[in-house]
Symmetry: D3
Subunit: 240 residues, 6 copies
C-alpha cells in the first residue's frame, strides 16, 4: 500500500500553469502533487563562446531549491558560495533532456535558459522540472517565432519525465518523498512522445535490482508518459 493510497501505476495530480510570472518568455508552474517547480525560460541573443560562429543555438538549464522548499531548511547555495553536486547533476540532466526537444540548428544563434526553481519539494523535483521546463521552452520558441526573430520551427518533440522505483517490494510510479526516501531502487526516465528513451538513470539504494524489475519499471514509466504528454499538449493547446 502506498502512503498516499495511490495505485502503483497512478501518478500524482499533474498541473501545468502557463504564464505564471510575467517577465519570462516562457513561465510555467508545474505541480506533481505537492512538488511545485517554477520553470522560467529566458531567451537571450548569442550563444556560449564555444558555439560561436557554428550557426546554431543552445538550450541549457539551471536548477535551484528555495532553502525552505524541504522539511528542514537547507543552506542557501548562494550563501555557501557554490552549487552542490546534486544541484549540478540535476541541472545537467534537465539541460540534456530539454535539448532533445529542439533542433539547435533551426534555433539560430539564440540561447534559451530554463531556470527550474523548486518552490515546494515532495519528491520528483527533477522529473517535474523536465516536464514543466519543456512547456516553458515551447513558449519561448513560440515567442521567437511571434517576434519573427527566427524562421522555421526549431521545436522537434515533447519530452517528459517521471520517476519509478521499487517501494517495499512493489514497483511504483511517480514517487513522493515518503516513498522516495524508503525505496530500494529509484529510477528517473526521460521519454519522447513516440516511445523513445532520452535518459534512464536507475540507482539501487539498498539491494541490487534485476533485469525483470528494470523492465517493470520502464513499463510503468511508459504508462505515466501517456498521462504527462496529454497534460503538456493540453496546456499548450496541441492536439495529440
Amino acid at each position: 500500500m502506498r502512503p498516499s493510497g495511490r495505485q502503483p501505476e497512478q501518478t500524482r495530480e499533474i498541473q501545468l500553469i502557463r504564464d505564471y510570472t510575467r517577465h519570462a518568455e516562457g513561465s510555467v508552474l508545474v505541480a506533481f502533487g505537492d512538488t511545485q517547480v517554477l520553470c522560467n525560460a529566458s531567451v537571450e541573443a548569442g550563444v556560449p563562446r564555444w558555439l560561436r560562429g557554428k550557426g546554431q543555438g543552445w538550450v541549457t538549464a539551471e536548477y535551484g531549491m528555495l532553502p525552505r522548499a524541504t522539511h528542514t531548511r537547507g543552506a542557501r547555495e548562494a550563501a555557501r558560495g557554490k552549487q552542490g553536486g546534486r544541484t549540478l547533476e540535476i541541472q545537467r540532466l534537465i539541460g540534456r533532456a530539454l535539448r532533445a526537444s529542439v533542433n539547435l540548428r533551426k534555433l539560430g544563434e539564440f540561447t534559451i535558459t530554463v531556470d527550474c526553481d523548486v518552490i515546494q519539494a515532495d519528491g520528483g523535483t527533477r522529473t517535474a522540472s523536465i516536464t514543466g521546463g519543456c512547456v516553458a521552452l515551447v513558449d519561448a520558441i513560440r515567442h521567437l517565432q511571434r517576434e519573427k526573430l527566427i524562421k522555421g520551427d526549431p521545436f522537434k518533440q515533447l519530452v517528459s519525465s517521471v520517476s519509478v522505483g521499487v517501494y517495499k517490494g512493489t514497483p511504483v510510479v511517480d514517487l513522493d518523498y515518503p516513498e522516495d526516501s524508503a525505496a530500494d531502487t529509484d529510477m528517473n526516465v526521460v521519454m519522447t512522445e513516440g516511445g523513445g528513451l532520452i535518459e534512464v538513470q536507475g540507482t539501487a539504494e539498498a539491494a541490487a535490482f534485476s533485469r525483470a524489475e528494470l523492465d517493470t519499471m520502464l513499463d510503468l514509466a511508459e504508462g505515466a508518459g501517456a498521462e504527462l504528454f496529454a497534460r503538456q499538449r493540453e496546456a499548450l493547446g496541441i492536439r495529440a
Copy 2:
C-alpha cells in the same frame, strides 16, 4: 501623473497570503502589486556561535531573487559563487528590521531565519520582504508557542516597510519599477505601529534632496504604514 495612474499617496494592492507553502513554520506570499516575494520563516534550535550561552535567541534573514524575476535574466548567485553587495545589503536590512519585532530574550535559544525569495520583481522588493516577513515571523513564533517550546510571548510589535521617492518632482509612495528607475530620490522606511522609525534609508539618485522633501516623504510613508499594518493585522487575525 504616475505611470500606474495611482495618486501620490496611494500604495499598490497589498496581499498577504499565509500558509503559502507547507513545510515552513511561517510561510507568506506577499504582493505589492506585481512584486511578489515568498517569505518563509524557519525555526531551528540553537543560536549562532557568538550568542551561545547568553540566554537569548536570534532572528535573521536571507534574500534572493529568482534569476528571471526581473525584465532581463540575472545571473544566478549560486552559480556565480557569491551573493552580490545589493543582496547582502538588503538581507542585512531585513534582518535588522525583523529583530525590532521580537524580544530576543523571550525567544530562548532558537533561531528564526526568514528567507525572502523574490518570485517576480516590480520595485519595492525589500519593503515587501519586510512587510511579509514580519507576518511569517509571527507565525513562526506562534508555532513555538503552540508546540510549547517556549513560555511567554517574544512578539513585541508589528513592523512594516514602504518606499517613498521623488518622481518627476512629486513625492510619491510605494514606487513600482518604472518609477523607481526614474526617481530623483529613493527612500525606504521601516516603521512600527506606534509611529516609531526603525530604519530610514534615503538616497539622492540625481540631485540632492532637501529637509522639506524628506519631511513630505516621511509623511507619505506614515500614511502608507496605516494601510500596511491593517493588512498585516487582517492577515493574522489581530484586532487593531
Copy 3:
C-alpha cells in the same frame, strides 16, 4: 556626558592630509579623532563594460579595514576569500556619495577608484572615508586637468559626511566607538555644501526613534557639516 567629554554638537578633531602617499593621483589621510583612513584616488583610462560607449566616466569606491585597525584582530578578508556584507554595504555607500561630487559626462571615459583603507578605527570610518575620499577625488580630477586629459571641469560640489545618534537619551554628533557601540540610534548623513542631503541612513539599534529625534539629529549633522566643509576647503585651498 559623552565619554570623551565633548559637547553633543562637537565633532572630534578633523584632519585632512593631502599627498600622503606618492603614487596615487589623489592621496589623503583623513582623521576624525582616532579614526584614521587612507583615501587613495586612482585614475584609470576606460570605464566598466556596461558604461562603454556612453560618453561618460565612472567613480567608484572600495573599502577595507586593516586586520588590527580594531580592538581585537579581525580576519583578513583576502584570506577569508570574500568581502563581508558590512564592507560591501559601506563601499557602495561611499561610491554613491562620491558620485554626487562629479559630473560623470564631463569626466569622459575615465574611471576614478577611491580606495578607503582604515588604518585605525574608533567609530565613524564610513563618514571619514567619504569626507576624506572627496578631497582625494578632487585631487584626482585636478590631475586629469593638469595633464590635459580632459577639458572642462567635472567637479560639481564638495560632499561630506558625519554620524549622529542618540547616546543615553541625548542626540550627539560624530560618535566615537564607545558611543557608537552603546547608542540607541545611529545615523549617517551625507551632505552637500548647499545644505542638500545625499544619503540619510538611520537605524534604531534598541528602541524606535521618533520624527522629532530624527529632526534633532539632522540639525546636528548640518551643524557639523559646516565644520567639515571648512576643513575640506582649507585642505584644498578653496575659498568658501
Copy 4:
C-alpha cells in the same frame, strides 16, 4: 566496424595492478586499454559529522583528471577554484557504486576514501574507476582486518562497471574515446557478480533509443561483466 577493430562484445585489455603506490592502504592502477586511472583507497578513523554515533562506517570517492590526461589540456580544477559538474557527478556515482560492495555497519567508525585520478583518458574513465576502485577498496578492508582494527568482514560483493553504447547503429561494449564521442547512445552500467544491477545510466546523445536497444546494451554489459569480475578476482587472488 569499430575504430579499434574490436568485436562489438569485446572489451579492451583490462589490467589491474595492485600496490601501485606505497602509502595508500589500497592502491590499484586500472587500465581499460589506454584509459589509465590510479585508484588509491585511504583509511581514516572516524566518519562524517552526520554519521557520528550511528555505529557505522562510510565509503566515499573523489575523482580527478590530470590536466593533460586528455587530447587537449583541460584547466586544473584546483586552479579554477572548484570541481566541475561532470567531476562531481562522476565521483558521486563512484561512491554510490562502491558502497554496494560494503556492509557499512560491519566497517565500524572508519571512513574509506577512494581517490580515482585519471592519468590518461581514452573513454570510460568512470567505469574503469569503479572497477579498479573496488579492488583498492578490498585491499583497504583487508588492511583493517590485518591490523585488527575491525572484527568481522565488511566486504559484501565485488562491483564492476562498463560502458555500452550504440555506435554507428551497432550496440558495442567498452567504448573508447573515438567511439564515445560519436555514439548515438551512451550507457554506463554498474553490476554485481550475481547479475544484479547497481546503476544504469543511459543517455541519448543524438536520437532517442528504444527498449530493444536498451536490452541489447544490457546484454553486452552483462557479458563484459564476466570478464571484469574474472580480472578482479584474479588480481585479488579470489577463486570464482
Copy 5:
C-alpha cells in the same frame, strides 16, 4: 651608478616607529626609504588546532598590499576572492623568519599574528616587513610579560632582512623599485645578529649567477645587517 645615487653597500634610510597605531600589542611603521609597511603584532590566546595540547605557542604572519601602494593600482585581493601566489609566498617567508626570533615553548599557548600591510611600495617590501615585524613581535612579547600572562622570556634573537642583487653588473644592497625591476639577480637574505643565516632566496632574473656573485651579495647583506640590527636595537632601547 645607482638611480638613487647610493653607494653599492649603502642602504636606504631605515626608520622604525613604534606604537604607530593604538590597538595592536605591537605596532611598528617601518620605512626602507619610500617603502612603508605597517607591522601590527596581535596576541591571541590559543593556538591553531594542529598545535593544541603540545604546550607551545605559535607565531605567524599575514601580508597585504594596499591597492594603490604601487605605481598602478592593483586589484584588491579581498575583492578578487583570493590571495595571490606572491602574497602567500611572502607571508610564509615572513612567518618562518619571525619564528626564528622566538622560543615557541616559552611562549605558551598564545598565538602572535604579525600583519604586514604595505602602505607604499618602492621595492623590498618583504625585507622591510621582516625587519619591522620583528620589532612589533618583541613589543607583543613584552606585552605578554608585562601583563604577566607568561613567565620566562620567549624572545631568542633579533632577525632582520635585506635584499641584494646584481644591477647592471654591480652587486648592490637594498634595491629600490627601479633597481629591482631591472636587476639580473635578486636575493633576499634573512639574518640573525650573530651572523647566522635564516633564509637565503636568490633568483636569476636574466642570466644565471655564479658562486662568486653569490658570495659578494652575501657580504653586502651581512654589512647591511649591522645597520639594520642597530636600528632595531635603537628602536627597542636594547644595548648592543
Copy 6:
C-alpha cells in the same frame, strides 16, 4: 648515518621516462628514488593577455599532489576550492626555473605549460619536478620544431635541481622524507649545466646556518648536478 644508508654526496636513483603518457607534447615520469612526478608539457597557441603582441612566447608550470601521494591523505585542493600557499610557491619556482631553459623570443607566440603532478612523494618533489619538467619541455620544443610551427631553436640550456640540507649535523644531498622532516636546514638549488645558479632557496628549520655550511651545501648540489645533467642528456639522447 643517513636512514637510507646513502653517502652524504649520493643522490637517490634518478629515472627519467619519456613518452610516459600519449597525449602531451612532452611527457616524462621522473623518479628521485620513491618520489615520482609526472611532468606533462602542453603546447598551446597564444600567450597570456599581458604578453600579447610582444612577439614572444611563455613557459609556465602548475604543480599538484595526488591526495594520497603522502603518508596520510591530504585534502584535494580542487575540493577545498583553492590551491594552498605551498602549492603556489612551488609552481612559481618551477616556472621560473624552466624559463631559464628557453629563449622566449625564439619560442614565438606559443605557451608551454608544464604540469607536474606528484604520484608518490618521498621528499624533493619540487626538485624532481624541475629536473623532469625540463626534459618534458625539451620534447615540447622539439614537437614545435618537428611540426614546423617555429623556426630556429628556442632551447637555451638544460636546467636541473636538487635539494641539500644539514641532517643531524652533516650536510647531505637529495634528502628523502625522513631526512627532510628532521633536517636543520633545507635548501633547494636550481642549476645550469655551465655551473650557473638559477635559484638558491635555503631555509633554517631549527638553528641558523653559517656561510661555511652554505658553501658546503652548494658544493654538494654542484656535485649532484653532474649526475642530474647526465641523466637528462641520456634520456634526451644529447651528447655531453
